[in-house]
Amino acid sequence: MAEKEYCKMISRSTPGPGDGGRTGSWRVLRPIIDNDKCIPAKTGKKSCFNCWLYCPDCVVSKTIPPTIDLEYCKGCGICAEECPADAIEMVSEASQNVEEK
Amino acid sequence: MHHIIESGNVAAATGVKLSRAQVIAAYPITPQTPLTEKLSEFVESGELDAEYIPVESEHSAMAVCIAASTAGTRAFTATSANGLLYMNEQLHWAVGARLPVVMCVANRGVGAPWTVWNDQQDSMSQRDVGWIQLYANDHQQIIDSVIKAFRLAQTVSVPVMVCYDGYLLSHTYMPFEQPDQQKVDAFLPSFTPKHFLNPEEPGNFNTVTLPDIRPGVSGAIEPGYIEIRHNLHQDLRGALDAYKEIDEEFAQEFGRGGNPFVEQYKCDDAACVAVCIGSLSYQLRDVIDSLRQEGIKVGVMGVQMYRPFPDEAIVEALADKSSVVVFEKALSYGNQGPLYGDIKSALYSCSSRPRIQNYILGLGGREIQTQQLMDALRRCCSSPDAIEDTPRWIGLKL
């Protein structure tokens, strides 16, 4: 009897950047980390990493200092809200673009 | 004439408002949500004098409608896809209890896999339950069908679902006329249901039935389960004539209608007829016109009432055609398209009958391109011998 393969397709995605497209383009506000206030950056030690923990899109790196992947950061502001050191400020994206240009 | 340009959801909500629904219980679900929001605005502003009951699920939404209808009020809900299926048990209850509930279904594909886009599997999968099913092709038909649905439901004591394509109709905007409230009141008077909870006449509703008939407390023989269900089926078949009359009366009053079961376009002299349900039947009109310019005699027919199945109208329209092409956004998995099967079955005993090709398309909102429809129809018209008994698929990409 010939072998027939069943269940060749289901809907299943592997987690990873870019599944929703270049969502960084949606940003109206951009998070800026002040490394003078950020606890891991200041102390040079692995510390709270609340920004990494709470980011719903996993665009904050668990590094010293933490960095933000602007390709995908949507500017939701949760990192700024959760930072215990008030080290993150949400600034207008438009103003950043003008500066970059 | 008061035309407005609004979405299909608003057309439905306006129909419910004009019908003076008294109890609304609904749970939001894409793409029906703006319908419930509009209804709650109507209630909040006082434009609609109704109880709006927020519920925590669709199962409860139908449960509340069952209770409200049993208490003798005009009840309405709306849902889509997985929401419709969540209330499936209650759908069976509402129809078995012979309650004139009206529901709108914004047709959407069913998970898994997850989708929010349009196909008709949700309502199609409920065709065996016993609810009357009406399908609208555009916004005018949505608002008109809602009003007719309330009238039909209370006439035959069977719940009615008015279905329309999610997004394609629910979220697009087009002009439609809002019927005059006074005229609607004359067409749809308030009613007293045959059976309702009444403290003056205490009774138990929908109690258990034993397999055999038995005498009740008064000594009279009470019907059993099979008798009650047989009566439902008879009344559903009777609803065909009832709806025809209601549609005629609506047409006289409001100037629109006249196609209670099927809506045909250029079918009279057509050798080949495309059949489908919903907005697709209108999209096919441009295809029909183009093919006719090529000299191919085709027409398109939209099925407006799917349950009860209008087999006489179907046979009259299709029996003497050479070929029929049934486009469906639904599938009875493991077999064939539901509409295709019903049409084939209706034509079975005809001495002459067309070849029939089934196409499955548009599932999960897969875009339906006019060129695909043209190619499919042209192929069936030019090579009827190539028509197969198994469904073909349009728009697959892998």
Binding site: K74 | I5, T172
Partner: protein, 187 residues
């Protein structure tokens, strides 16, 4: 397919009101005698800031085909920052027109040789007394000037009806200022 249908695609970002703008033009077109009007927004998940588009078809007779626009006659862009991300002129017919909210002149923008009309709707909105960033009323004025399809007076009335309770006169004024300041380029 039918040649009498005028197909207009509107590009904006979620929250900018592209749907409302298209709906207002639909209303204006309908009362001007276009009995066939169909407006279809982007179907599906959306959020503020994400690129969205809306299809508007108008014709003298009723329109039956709701399928998406593939070859627009006109494209209206509410936000020039979209130009880097979205090919707004995709499928534009040969004699097509792009109406763009942007600073500068029509000659500053190129879409494979298509005609371009430009108005700094963002600035005109502020000039009309609206908060910065309201562009969906002004863009209608630019549309009217560039296409001549619907009279500006009809559209201003439709704008004022749509924006009842939300600064209707200022929104109408924004459309008129944009109308007067739309520069239409040659092909």
């Amino acid at each position: 397919m039918r040649k009498d249908i005028i197909e207009i695609r509107w590009h904006g970002r979620g929250g900018q009101g592209a749907i409302t703008a298209a709906k207002i033009v639909a209303n204006g077109a309908f009362v001007s005698g276009f009995k066939g009007v169909v407006m279809a927004p982007t179907f599906g998940t959306e959020r503020r800031g994400a690129p969205v588009f809306t299809s508007l078809k108008i014709a003298k007779d009723k329109i039956y085909d709701l399928s998406p626009i593939t070859t627009p006659d006109m494209v209206v862009v509410l936000d020039h920052t979209l130009l880097d991300e979205v090919d707004v002129a995709a499928g534009l017919k040969d004699d097509g027109l792009v109406v763009l909210n942007a600073p500068g002149a029509a000659s500053d923008y190129s879409f494979a040789g298509a005609r371009v009309a430009v108005a700094d709707v963002t600035a005109h909105g502020v000039a009309a007394g609206l908060p910065p960033g309201i562009v969906n009323s002004g863009i209608i004025g630019a549309f009217s000037k560039a296409t001549g399809l619907v009279d500006i007076d009809v559209l201003v009335k439709a704008i004022e009806q749509e924006f009842v309770g939300k600064k209707p006169e200022k929104n109408g004024a924004a459309a008129r200022i944009a109308y007067d300041n739309t520069s239409v380029g040659e092909k």
